[in-house]
């Protein structure tokens, strides 16, 4: 049974140092992601306040029910990811694999709904700026601005999820090969942090994009 994770990398003195370094490193990476998405949130905030009516009109054209469902799906995937970490911590290989796979499936459902259902419909409805935008209501260009931010923010978010799916596939294989143990499972834990962070971004995107002026 190949267990490369059990080895402490040569720049570290012991496993504790290696674990602490990995943890700190991943959290710092998440801090960079906060600023990366933060720039988009800043732009969104400015334009939402300048063009409130247009942003609400745009938000209306999105399907909040689908958005809420997808939010639940993603939160569910966070649950399965947390349970995967728990399985790794308690040395339960099969359970780890099951929860990793579940996370991948739930993430896949989210992405399928996002791309194959929502985005395809948006294209058909003519609300994709730059590609197919035929909205002709009032302040059309400001509504287009809303959709710019909608597609960019959900697109960058989805890109992070796709990368996450790829990493999970690798982790699943590593788990299957028995490379994780109770003592040594940094990769699972660090990826868990990344996946939860993606969930947090969506927790903000959902109300900001789908629920503006819903009480019309």
């Amino acid at each position: 049974m190949h267990n490369s994770q059990a080895v402490v990398a040569e720049q570290f003195d012991d496993r504790t140092q290696q674990h602490e370094a990995a943890s700190l490193g991943m959290w710092i990476f998440l801090a960079t992601e906060v600023m990366f998405f933060g720039a988009l949130f800043t732009g969104y905030t400015i334009y939402r306040n300048l063009y409130t009516m247009a942003f609400e009109a745009g938000s209306h054209l999105l399907n909040a029910r689908i958005g809420a469902f997808n939010t639940a799906v993603l939160i569910g995937s966070s649950l399965t990811m947390a349970l995967a970490v728990h399985a790794a911590q308690t040395g339960m290989r099969k359970r780890l694999m099951a929860f990793l796979a579940s996370t991948m499936v739930l993430g896949g459902i989210f992405l399928y709904i996002k791309f194959a259902i929502e985005w395809v419909h948006d294209y058909r409805d003519g609300i994709v700026p730059g590609l197919h935008f035929t909205y002709s209501g009032p302040q059309a260009s400001h509504v287009a601005m809303f959709f710019c931010f909608y597609f960019i923010m959900t697109g960058v978010h989805a890109l992070h999820m796709i990368i996450g799916e790829g990493v999970m596939a690798v982790l699943l294989i590593m788990a299957w090969r028995g490379e994780f143990s109770r003592e040594s499972h940094n990769h699972i834990e660090m990826f868990g942090l990344y996946w939860h962070f993606i969930d947090i971004i969506w927790i903000f995107l959902f109300p900001l994009l789908y629920l503006l002026g819903a009480h019309f």
């Binding site: 140092q17 370094a21 710092i28 334009y47």
Partner: protein
Amino acid sequence: MSSLEVALEPRVHYLNADYSIKSWLLTTDHKRIAWLYLIAITFFFSIGGVAATLMRLNLLEPQGLLVEPDTYNKLFSMHGIIMVFFFLVPSIPAVLGNFLIPLMLGARDVAFPRLNLLSWYVFMTGGSIVTYALIAGGVDTGWTFYTPLSTLYLNTHVTTAAAGVFIAGFSSILTGLNFVVTIHKMRAPGLTWFRLPLFIWAMYATSIIFIIATPVIAMSLALIIIERVFHVGIFDPALGGDPILFQHLFWFYSHPAVYVMILPSMGVVSELVTAFSRKKIFGYHFIAFSSIAIAVLGFLVWGHHMFVSGQSIYAGLVFSALSMAVAIPSAVKVFNWTATLYKGSISYEAPMLYALGFIGLFTIGGLTGLYLATTAIDQHVHDTYFVVAHFHYIMVGGAVMGYMGGIHYWWPKISGRLYPDGWARVSAIIIFVGFNLTFFPQFILGYLGMPRRYAVYPPEFQTLNVISTAGASILGLGYIIPLIYFAWSIRYGAPAGDNPWKATGLEWTTTSPPPTHNFEETPVVTEEPYGYDRLAEEIQVA
């Protein structure tokens, strides 16, 4: 320590352990990665330098001697993009930081060595893309990529250049991340925070900026690319977009970026001043905390680049006041360096010449920054050569001189050889003279009203422009000479020995060049840093 001690080079060290190309291109040794960066940034510096040469030659004549205005626009844009993103930002962090941080900490390597190598490849990818943009015809937005010019009106290689810078940004982010984790988690036993060399404090502060600021410019450039590729109007006023939003996001990174460029140099100067005064640095805690203060305050002042762009006057007020505040920690450093020099036993080897040059030129650059932070003055000198002179005093008179000083000081450790100090001092003086001749006239030109980024100018400005160009030729010579003697020293320089400068610091306790794993045994630190008085006693007793 015997005066008859013969300096010996270790038989096996990190340079000769393996000569194959693969061992260099797949290295995870921070010292070799430092070399990879050194070669890369020297290459980029020369391209940026060629662009500057062509610009200064063009400006010999009021009607432009050499190039059409469109070409001139491309020259200053490429000069800025390459010098900022591919020379200055990585210079000290990626070369000296990579090489020295583990050594100064008593560690075997950085926290994530493979990530370190990835940083270099990401950097080279970004640099290759920008070089391609240059060869394919260049970009003429200025290094600031302002919208809507960059998004709506230009058909030059904006998208490509922006993509190259976007990618290179991730190199900074990963390097900053690596350094912060290394400094927190891999210090030798006994090496508490206040025993760290001040270079480490400076690199830590720099890394915070890398981590927090760089993602924002990444997103800003991504938005430009999206706007160009998909023809959407994120920053297009006709569609409700606001170009000032781009400026906010751009400068949120780019102002802290200038602190990325100066903080490491300040760290180097702290090391040089104490070593060449043979005296413990004055105000260690003040210098350490001022580095952090500069990093934090540096994030609060970006709007001072936008006083005349259209931001609200109240925002201008706030940014102006905060810009005054950020000068304070910088001044604290200058005072402490000066106090270190006072009654020190000063020697004038090349590194010290660069350090002294830094202190003077950075002070001028910094003070002129205060003029620019004053909104009433900035109204008149914004976008003139006054600004150009200001930032070149800091970037070249400050940052590059710090870089040169650091390269000279640590060269014996890095290469195991001594460079010829006579030639080095001559070069340092040539650089100092050439620099001032190039850039001081530009303060006057700016004050008199000559705009920046113009290929032509009114005839009454010609004399000052000619002086500036003459200075630039001298400056260029000053940079070429070290290339020659450093290359010479690798083959013919005298072996340096462990500690040719008799300096304090863990890096000087291992061999020159160090073994691949830095130390035969992990050092244990029991004393305060910069113990030159103790060292003096030891030398006397020996």
